[in-house]
Symmetry: D3
Subunit: 313 residues, 6 copies
């Protein structure tokens, strides 16, 4: 069991605990030798680390994403905390508890079952077939179950993407009751697939990072390509439904400036966009409120992303 967490570290602390190795760089010293730069991560945050001796050999012992046992001391470098590392040892899966390293909601399995049941009960046979094609694709399904919706702002944990989609579907049920013009099958399918591209845009294991494909193409384009390939395999997939679903994926960021190449032009697309936003912001405020209360503050720290402080009462 882990005792030392990143968000509690202070200058001068002696460290002897395990972390995810989220980055590993061998760089040159002025004297010609090498030193090892690392990023250490657990469920509370991350911290840089540097190892001056024995760097080349140590670097061979582990890969990025591995869990390692680290010994060292917390100092500061250029104004930020940093671990001066003495030793790094790789661990096996039995040596650590995953729940110390990443957050994961308890009810993930129930959520997955409920969401899957909803999708497989859709009335439109092509929507249902498309959802089924993804759910039967074991590689996709496994990745989707592990994916986070984002690195930091909302649903930023293992299973976060699934939970986000399920919450969106819950809200969508109510909106469909209010507005008969909405095609519920299209909307639910679009909710399921709107962020499907995130599965390849980021790595989602112990060390979440944007992939090269993610940085060059983005999850909208990646997602459209994934959905298009599945639709190609369903005989007689209607052209109208094809355009509707791809349009929902492409436009779900709502505005060009937010990265959607087209703005929402169907009622399902506009509803998808607003539900996505509503659920994301509510989740982010919830997280900030919890974190702020834990620190014993009434007002959150300043949040640059939204340029304000939040009141937690």
């Amino acid at each position: 069991m882990k005792n030392q967490y990143v968000n509690r570290m202070q200058e001068g602390d002696r460290i002897n605990d395990y972390f995810v190795a989220a980055r590993k760089d061998l760089r040159s010293k002025q004297d010609g030798g090498k030193f090892l730069g690392m990023v250490l991560k657990d469920k509370t945050g991350d911290i840089g680390g540097v190892m001056w001796n024995n760097a080349t050999d140590t670097a061979k012992l582990f890969e990025v994403g591995d869990v390692v046992s680290v010994r060292g001391t917390v100092g500061t470098y250029q104004g930020r905390l940093q671990v001066r590392i003495d030793q790094v040892l790789p661990l096996c899966e039995n040596d650590y508890s995953l729940s110390d390293l990443v957050n994961k909601p308890d009810n993930l399995k129930e959520t997955a079952e409920a969401f899957e049941a909803l999708l497989l009960s859709l009335g439109n046979p092509f929507c249902k077939a498309l959802c089924a094609a993804f759910l039967q694709d074991q590689d996709f399904k496994e990745s989707f179950m592990q994916a986070m919706a984002g690195k930091k702002w909302h649903h930023e944990y293992v299973g976060g993407l699934l939970q986000h989609c399920h919450e969106m579907a819950r809200i969508a049920e109510t909106v469909c009751e209010l507005y008969p013009e909405l095609d519920r099958d299209v909307l639910m399918t679009a909710i399921f697939l709107h962020d499907a591209g995130k599965v390849h845009e980021m790595t989602h294991g112990l060390a979440a990072e944007y992939t090269t494909e993610g940085k060059l193409l983005g999850h909208l384009q990646i997602g459209c390509d994934m959905v298009q390939r599945k639709m190609d395999q369903i005989p007689d997939f209607p052209e109208k439904l094809r355009m509707e679903l791809l349009h929902c994926i492409l436009s779900h960021h709502g505005e060009l400036i937010n990265g959607s190449p087209v703005t929402p032009r169907t009622i399902e697309a506009i509803v998808l966009h607003h539900i996505d936003n509503l659920d994301a912001q509510t989740a982010a405020f919830s997280r900030i409120i919890r974190e702020t209360r834990e620190k014993g503050q009434e007002w959150s720290d300043y949040l640059p992303l939204i340029d304000r402080v939040i009141w937690t009462k």
Copy 2:
């Protein structure tokens, strides 16, 4: 019963039917006499009118907001359709059908009862008392029941504001189930009162126009003043709740650029803003889809407000 509607008029039509007199201006002719400028309105739109003879006497026969019988001919002036008016006669309430002149949903009474019941069942005694104070204020209640949420974009009909609030409450129920951090009583009270100022920002009878107070102060400030006065009359109204509710009203437009002097800084405020947006845009898309289909088009006309066309399929 009315036969001639504004949205069907074409150059050359002879007009003989009734309309709301939405504007009445006596202006000078070059020869020193007067002519009468009017705006005629029914539930399908409005059109300008001009009467060259007998203007002064005719202008005495009616007030803005009255229903009048008009005879004349449709022409064009400076590129827009305009009725050359021959005669204007005032009508009594029995002479016309209100439903020809303004839109009004059928189930308004049921909606009102359901929404009122919800508000009076709130657990927080101060929230409940505040809602009750407004519901027992007959002037307010009557105005609120007639109010539209906007002049053109969404819920732009008699009872529109009530219906909008009720839909928001429905969506809020679901969001409250998902996020235990939310204070349901605060959120429901804020939904009820977020646009309360619109009751005085606009006239809401047959001719909806912004009032001078509305143009100078806006419905956020007017609403805060109304709510503050009611809170002043409730003994021991908690300061914290006072600030929370006023903050929700002030920040519900979400961003400074949209006219909120402060941005949402509580979770109830951010949820209020996003539910408001979600319901308003969905309602607007619904309306545009219905209107576009009625015109037999697959794509809507260009919508300058949102800079796009909408697909109605």
Copy 3:
């Protein structure tokens, strides 16, 4: 041969000449009958038309995009010129001269040959294979040869897209000489394919209009899908090259606000974007200068798109 052109029409003119029927709408008159709304087009512009009698029968005689002989009179409606149509008759290909109806550069064939030769001489075998796959696809090639780069601003004529790409390639040659870091094969392939999606985003015959697919997905996404499908058919197409080319297509508008979902992150992508812009704006200024001089003006009319007037000296 055609004598009457749209840009010379004045109120009161009698019309008896041929045009492209760019739009055809049967709508209801107030008396229950139908009238026919049209848009008439030739190489100098377009004008609305309306036919009050015999509308239903006349509408059966032709389709949108056909060339028709029209008789009527020029009037105004709501402040704009409009043809009151008396008669519409369909024409055969022999009855009209295509060059009266659309603009087309003289040297299109030579341009096509030169550009094709350049592409087929690329050194990178996968770039060459990809270009060849498109050039051997007769449907694509024919459409590409006819396509305009835009409806109004630049290269807005038959063959405009081809000419634009060829000019870009000419400029790219010089830039490649200056910057050895540039991969010429990638850049030339990206120039060829950057607007490939426009082939399906618009119709490109006699009546250019955005398609439903174009309005919902946009030419970036359509183009990526076209290129992806061709790459799927080339064995061992390198993943790196796949990402580079798709990235160039997606990012060539340069900024999110201009509709690219990602910004240019490779040197070929940034060069593609700037060459595209340079050639497009130069072509637009050239066109405006020619048109302004033809009108005998020293300064152009006000150009809302770029918020300025242009000096033609």
Copy 4:
């Protein structure tokens, strides 16, 4: 008398002097104990401080806003100067000189008298009565006399708000002479009250901080409420004047993006906005010029708020 000022501190200095305790946080150490975080302030700036031992007892000795004697050493923490505190002792009013801790103009009393005389000589009886009501409200008057107009940019000292208002009135006199359309009484009253809400938006003693009410409602809304309550107590206060004055307060930031929920729509409101801006920016430039010259520089440091450097010659 004080010898050590915040803006002269350097790493390694031994500190033994008095400061305002502008912040006081008891936080947990990793070993379970507590440490004390502080912010120390004098008229030249502020600096963080931390006390590792005896924290809980020390924290009981003083409140935020008290003046304390501090002993310690200047070090750096995460790249910024910080005092490692050994001892904190509370002081009595006799033990320190207020003028070492906050800036305060010499002629504050004269300014107050002149401004009060101007307000009480207004011709419009309702304007005069409203000003009198505020001036006779001792709580308000005392707060108003102490208030600063802002925390950092302009008039950022005790009495700054009063001085700012008086300067605005001086400029307004001249503008009223130039433009007879201006209602001088309305303008002068609006100048007095435009920032009245700042009295509650911030604490204005030795430690200026935004209050919770300030962060949730802002000084525009707080000020409108204060003014409305006073107007309610003046019999027959004219509705027109009520709307004019509240409009001036609400719109005085000039644009929505600057936090005004309505833009200036009367001539007094537009003049108020521009005079406010003119005086604020001139005062800020004056301050920067003085501070820069004191540092012996010809050009100021980079000013992020206005994205430029200033020349002091």
Copy 5:
């Protein structure tokens, strides 16, 4: 004396009065002949005119900027009023009253004398010499006295620029009393010369239009060149003063987006910018209030430039 003014014209009016010929275009008719397009102007506005017969001969009778007697009838063309002209005759200076054609304040001579006295009393000998150099330049002085500050928004009449500068100087006196850091001589000189380039940016006779130089270079650059040339002729003109004054001219629009290539970086420059703005907006609001009251309206028409309506009470 003139009886028919542009702002009172209505469809059908017979016209027989004099106007400024503000534009004169000979254009081709479809039949090969020519017609004459004109713009007619008086102090109340302008209107287009068209003459179908005898166009070539008539066009020889007058130049743009001449005063002409016009006979014709008011009709509409493409939705706007237009005079169908039957006859145009040139007039001599004795045949018309200038005050019917352009607005001009009564006290222009007094204003000029007061402003000149102020400039010639400046203490700094180089400021005084520079002002004198401009005032002794008869061409400049005459143009400056006639110039308007703008075409439409503020001080849009003969002598408007002078009046605007004098008002700014009045306000500047007060600001200089408040802020001893301000160099009054520099500020007054900068006020005099800040818009000097407008003398060449526009024609300022009876027909105000932007010149080609004005459209290509703008009044900031033209003004700097004029001032630089005068400074070159004053021996030993100090480099510091040269830079200060040119900086004031270049930066007086305040922000890049408003057309200043540099932002204000001295206190005189920031004060110049804000006084300019204050006086311009107050003048514009004054004008709109007067015009709106004349039309008998309480609220102005919608003002696109500032996106609002104005209350005139």
Copy 6:
């Protein structure tokens, strides 16, 4: 020969090598004495330095821009590396190699000759005379040859401005072949002179800094003044060409927000702007790719100026 470069320094390094003294400030210590603040620079970057003892005497030994030998130790201050200086000694030109201190392309002389030949071969005699006037001005020519186009982003080295202009001319040749409307002589002259003002906007020796004139007037205005003075000396210089060239200089930043007081309104101006942008961004991407590969990274560090990372493959 130099061994220690700024971009390789690490905390703890002993420094004994030569650098450009890019800044020199004598400031007061708390004890009343003086210390010396410096910035040390070589071709790889710059670093702050501080000398606590013997500061006043040392400061007399050298000027900003001199090359000095420095002994000291690398530490950190407020989170950034800083040299604690023990000794500073001035060097003579023979003591150091210029190529260690600033970057300079090898082929600068050839580039200069080629560019000069191009300019002197222009057909338009006034363009040629203007270019010749600058090339025969030895002060200008020497400065121009040394100038960098910018401090950091592109062509940020000795001779960078010349190289940038020559590259632009190469691209312009191709564009002129494509567009016959372009006046090649005007375009080439404009390319030569568009950034001429940079010669005085910055110092261009060993320590590049913005001058006071540069910060107050900017290189557009400075350049226009330089070009105007040269044109004044060429008899009969055509007014049309004068306006065209000054317009090109003033508008070459393309948009007001980028600091051009007018937007491009001639075809040469729009082409100049786009070629400038194309060459600048391509050069910047080239530099970033080289620097990133040198660090052994596939993706560049985050680039705040363009808000992205760049892929170097």
